[in-house]
């Protein structure tokens, strides 16, 4: 007779080390690579990220629904995504708990050979977070349900009646907490009773009770619809299905939810139909496992796990999404060097280039480096595109920068509908209303913001400032916005830009950029005298290129008010045309050569509509 226990304790330790290693790496990956701060920020791309407000009122509103407690606590925990390491830790803990629960359940149903399945949910979560899909609430509900299953398995007495009472107690506690996810609890308990304890009569009783409890509590007590009573917090809820933006990576919660019941079903059926003495086989298996080299096996299993997780991450990695989020995150914080650094990774996006242009302006490089990125006339103001959620989000800060406060306010009001009271939206609405002098409305937005976890200081500061200085005369940003605000109601973006370009450098550079991108060199040249008004000591590079080109095309001399075109620009211009002419009619062949040296110039853009080619 074998005694596996001394070896088992070693095996358990080895498993724990593997678990620890996996979840430490899980945490580090989420913290350092995924960065949950990006999920929190959302960039208009994570529409189901929950809002959370401190105080009784928000709690009172959140709780009286099936699953209200999970929703409330998930919303609270999700706020810590704002702090990178804290968010990563919360997700890692959730994944670890799911892993533990799955492991425990598999152990109880004696499916030890399938215990590797415990890592499937965490790996799936890794994939979801790699794609910045937010399903934390659903997975928390799943965890609560699974936790209830484990507790039930631990607490269930042998007597059928008592067992049923325990089930009922767990049910009435789990359903209000986890909502529709409770059905998973009921299903797993039923499968367990049916296939593993052979209490045939309990399974239908459990399932029937679950339906009854859900109906009584959900529909009659909470007063929600039948669909909500059964579907709340499940990934199949209509609240997910109806809105396409909430279905991002929805397959992952589906798999997580069906994994355990399907495994239990398969293991149970296997046990009944194929293996009649599974315990014996299990012991044989354990003994046979322990005859092999355990260290080698540990390394093998651990490597397999890490390679699988790594491969999953690698295949789900989406550089565009990450860049979009990262660029947006740094743009929001006006961390311009970081914006440019992040944007280099993936420049093939209108939205990224739009933010890059702002970053270039704020670092004083728009007029000399904008063609280092792939430009298009619509990237500056994201015009000519359908105003969807993402576009509204991306363009609103540009609108604020230029003082187009009404347009930004309109976009924010629309976003408020889709993204709810996200602090980033409330903050901007407060800023706009302060700039417009609507202090009453600003106070309400600030009031809401002061109940958030991480924006309260900002809100409290401005609430105090409004009290002490209602004109907000000491706040430079607000004063700037007031100065730039359009004065005429029948104006539009370009007429306002034109008006402001006389004394606002940003308006001027954007206006000139519009002329360059639309190749309106005559209007561009006509506006050059504003270089004097705005204190430019030198002519920026792209302006030099445009001036040279204009002179060459029209044979007209441009009055530069005593400024000189640099020798470098003249030489570069000359070489460009020599190269172009050397290829005669074959412009495509010329492009291939010109792109290498002039891929970041206005000249290449002018002739080929291409830029951002130079590596």
């Amino acid at each position: 007779m074998l005694n596996p226990f001394p070896k088992l304790s070693g095996q358990i330790l080895a498993r724990q080390i593997r678990n620890l290693l996996f979840f430490v790496l899980f945490f580090l990956y989420l913290w350092l690579s995924v960065d949950t701060r990006l999920v929190y920020h959302g960039g208009g791309m994570v529409p189901n990220f929950p809002v959370f407000f401190r105080g009784w009122e928000f709690f009172r509103q959140s709780i009286p629904y099936p699953g209200g407690l999970v929703q409330y606590s998930s919303a609270f925990l999700s706020q810590f995504f704002y702090i990178g390491w804290a968010g990563a830790l919360i997700v890692a803990l959730q994944a670890w708990l799911i892993c533990l629960c799955v492991d425990y359940f598999l152990k109880v149903i004696a499916a030890s050979r399938l215990r590797w399945l415990r890592f499937v949910p965490p790996v799936l979560l890794l994939i979801a977070y790699t794609r910045y899909a937010y399903h934390f609430v659903t997975t928390t509900a799943f965890l609560v349900s699974l936790l209830s299953v484990c507790l039930y398995l631990k607490a269930a007495p042998n007597n059928n009646l008592r067992r049923f009472i325990v089930f009922l107690i767990f049910s009435v506690v789990t359903y209000p907490i986890a909502g529709g996810a409770y059905l998973l609890f009921a299903l797993l308990c039923a499968i367990y009773e049916l296939l593993f304890t052979r209490r045939w009569q309990m399974a239908p009783l459990y399932l029937f009770s679950a339906v009854l409890i859900t109906y009584l509590t959900g529909v009659l007590l909470f007063g929600v619809s039948l669909a909500d009573a059964f579907g709340q917090l499940l990934p199949v809820s209509w609240q997910v299905m109806v809105y396409p933006e909430r279905r991002q990576m929805i397959l992952i919660p589906y798999v997580i939810y069906v994994l355990v019941p399907l495994t239990a079903l398969a293991a149970g059926l296997w046990r009944i139909l194929v293996s009649t003495n599974i315990e014996e086989k299990l012991l044989q298996l354990i003994s046979s496992e322990h005859t092999a080299a355990p260290v080698l096996r540990w390394f093998g299993h651990s490597s397999l796990l890490l390679v699988t997780a790594g491969a999953a991450i690698l295949f789900s990695y989406d550089i565009e999404q990450k860049t979009l989020l990262e660029v947006d995150y740094h743009t929001y914080r006006r961390n311009w060097p970081k914006v440019l650094e992040a944007a280099r990774r993936h420049t093939n996006s209108f939205y990224v280039v739009h933010q890059v242009n702002r970053a270039l302006y704020h670092t004083g490089r728009l007029a000399s480096e904008m063609f280092s990125f792939p430009q298009h006339p619509s990237t500056l103001f994201l015009t000519g595109r359908r105003a969807d959620r993402l576009l509204r989000w991306k363009r609103l800060d540009t609108c604020i920068d230029f003082g187009f406060l009404n347009r930004a306010e309109g976009d924010l009001a629309e976003l408020l509908e889709v993204l709810a009271e996200h602090p980033v939206i409330l903050k901007r609405l407060a800023l706009i209303n302060m700039a417009k002098g609507n202090l009453g409305a600003a106070r309400i937005y600030l009031g809401a913001l002061s109940k958030t976890l991480f924006y309260a200081d900002w809100a409290d500061y401005y609430l105090a400032l409004i009290q002490s200085d209602p004109e907000l005369s000491t706040d430079r940003r607000i004063q700037d916005l007031r100065r730039l605000k359009p004065k005429k109601d029948d104006a539009d973006i370009f007429s306002t830009l034109h008006e402001n370009s006389a004394n606002d450098r940003m308006a001027f550079e954007y206006l000139m950029a519009v002329h360059l991108l639309t190749k309106r060199l005559d209007i561009f040249v006509a506006n050059l005298d504003r270089l004097d008004d705005l204190g430019y000591s030198q002519i920026p590079r792209h302006y030099e290129e445009a001036i040279l080109l204009y002179s060459a095309i029209t044979k007209k001399k441009v009055d530069l008010h005593g400024r000189e075109i640099s020798q470098q620009s003249r030489q570069s211009f000359k070489t460009f045309f020599q190269t172009l002419e050397s290829y005669g009619e074959n412009k495509q062949a010329a492009f291939n050569e010109l792109a290498k040296d002039y891929g970041d110039s206005f000249l290449l853009y002018y002739f080929y509509n291409r830029s951002g080619m130079k590596k």
Partner: protein
């Protein structure tokens, strides 16, 4: 024995803790101030519940003392009954409900005084000049049904709520969430009762329809009612169909603006389930809207403006700022279903303002309406104010004189609802913030004068400081809405629509254009 000790310690701790809490609570509620310094001015409180008339059946007017201090003491008293004393370490003054009801109830018609004392750390108590309010003899209708919406630009989450004015109970009648994103609006009741109710719904998936609730039975009519007014007999309801479009301003403070490109009035006969109209209020060259019945059912009042554009696709249309609505009425014979002559009571040419949203007091004497600079959408115009007209005097003199009500502010005031005793109005105002509409209540005396309006009281006096919803279409009713919640939602979600034939008499927007871009029809 050990087991007993194990539980005894926490139990004892619990008892000690409870006793301490109780002592602390009792200590707070009893205080005697023997010395104080008198401050000549009244205390600053928010919301401003001072110097006005309050309903005898209103929920406690909890408020925030806006004076620096570390302790606050408030005495509320009247001619009779026990004085309410509140001691608080925070400036939030929460009035006990039971004592408040008793005090108000036995002092109808009397004055109600608030003595506020504030103490700072190092100084003695300051006693401010008392706040005095009048308790009206006439109660306000105890329920307010209103609509919650965000200050949005297109459709979004909406809901109809009902608020018990005698306490703070506020429950949803129907939420767009419960009907899967369907937009809900324009709830209408008959004679301040809830046994007959209409409300409209719109969604891209389900189209537009009207839900009609009568004595607990529900019907879903396959057409969208706009502004609706029940004939007092309950036998028919007149409603508007509006081709509503929204556009945006680039520079002015209120970004949004709305225009009815076309509109007309129709009426729904309950018994025959038929929809009719008359060329007198569905003229092709005019925009008719905001119907309201006189309480005797003999006249239909409504607003009407000339349509100044021919291009129905241009937005905003030419001359939209010149569109100003007149106040008109037309007589009606219910028995013969016959409409009489059209009369213009008040012309926009005379007022130089657009006359909108007329509402007649249930006793038939007063007509309250709002006027704003132009167009049909008063809530987006700060110029919108409430005005009153004495219909009894007008009947006698033949002159339809009107005057501006005192309850107005420099922000928009709109949408009035009368209490069934004709002494209270509930109306929408943006006076506090210019963006989020709130409901105010104001007393109207026998001469048609309004008193300082009171903000709808909340349990937490700071409730509206961070409330991101706008409250619109306040309707006072004498009883709660009976069909609500999931029962109503289930009906809205699943019941089949009853097809209705629309009269083809004009460019009826409801008939021709309802499915087009319905999202723009959703407004406050």
């Amino acid at each position: 024995m050990t087991k007993i000790y194990k539980y005894l310690a926490p139990a004892l701790a619990l008892v000690v803790l409870s006793t301490a809490t109780l002592i602390y609570a009792l200590r707070d509620s009893k205080i005697e101030i023997t010395q104080w310094r008198s401050i000549a001015r009244p205390v600053n409180i928010r919301p401003d519940y001072s110097g006005t008339v309050i309903p005898p059946n209103i929920a406690p007017l909890n408020f925030l003392v806006q004076e620096a201090g570390s302790q606050y003491y408030v005495k509320i008293y009247s001619q009779r009954g026990k004085t309410i004393e509140i001691f608080s370490r925070s400036p939030k003054i929460i009035i006990p409900q039971g004592a408040w009801y008793k005090l108000l109830n036995i002092n109808r018609g009397e004055q109600l005084h608030f003595d506020v004392f504030v103490k700072t750390e190092d100084e003695p108590w300051n006693r401010f000049a008392p706040i005095t309010n009048q308790i009206a003899n006439e109660p306000i209708d105890p329920f307010l049904v209103y609509r919650r919406i965000r200050p949005v630009y297109s459709t979004g989450e909406t809901s109809i709520h009902q608020r018990n004015l005698q306490n703070y109970n506020d429950t949803p009648v129907l939420t767009s969430k419960s009907v899967r994103g369907v937009c809900i609006n324009c709830h209408t009741f008959c004679n301040n009762r809830t046994d007959k109710m209409f409300f409209g719904t719109r969604s891209k998936r389900q189209g537009s329809f009207t839900v009609f609730v009568q004595d607990g039975r529900m019907f879903k009519l396959q057409t969208k009612f706009g502004y609706t007014s029940w004939h007092p007999s309950g036998k028919l309801a007149v409603y508007s169909v509006n081709k509503v479009r929204q556009f945006f301003h680039f520079a002015r403070s209120e970004v949004r603006d709305v225009v009815d490109l076309d509109s007309a009035l129709l009426y729904y006969a309950v018994d025959s389930k038929s929809i009719k109209t008359s060329p007198k209020f569905s003229a092709k060259d005019r925009l008719e809207t905001f119907p309201t019945w006189s309480p005797d059912g003999r006249y239909l009042y409504f607003c009407s403006a000339p349509m100044l554009w021919t291009d129905q696709n241009k937005l905003p249309p030419d001359l939209y700022r010149q569109v100003k609505y007149d106040l008109q009425r037309i007589s009606y014979d219910l028995d013969r279903d016959q409409w009489g002559q059209l009369e213009t009571l008040l012309s926009a040419q005379d007022t130089d303002l657009s006359i909108l949203q007329p509402k007649i007091s249930p006793d038939g004497r007063w007509l309250v309406f709002c006027m704003c600079d132009y167009s049909c959408w008063a809530s987006y115009q700060a110029s919108s104010d409430l005005y009153i007209m004495d219909l009894k005097a007008a009947h006698e003199t033949g002159r339809y004189d009107y005057r501006r009500l005192d309850c107005n502010s420099d922000q928009s005031e709109t949408w009035t609802s009368w209490s069934s005793n004709s002494h209270w109005i509930a109306f929408s105002s943006k006076k506090e913030n210019g963006l989020f509409t709130r409901t105010y209540l104001s007393y109207i005396d026998n001469d048609g004068n309004t008193c300082k309006p009171i903000l709808l009281p909340q349990k937490d006096p700071e409730f509206f400081d961070s409330h991101l919803w706008t409250h619109g279409v306040p309707e006072l009713v004498t009883e709660p809405v009976k069909v609500k919640g999931e029962k109503l939602a289930r009906f809205v979600r699943s019941a089949p629509k009853i097809p209705v034939d629309l009269p083809i008499t004009m460019a009826t927007p409801g008939a021709k254009d309802a499915p087009v871009d319905t999202r723009w029809q959703e407004r406050e």
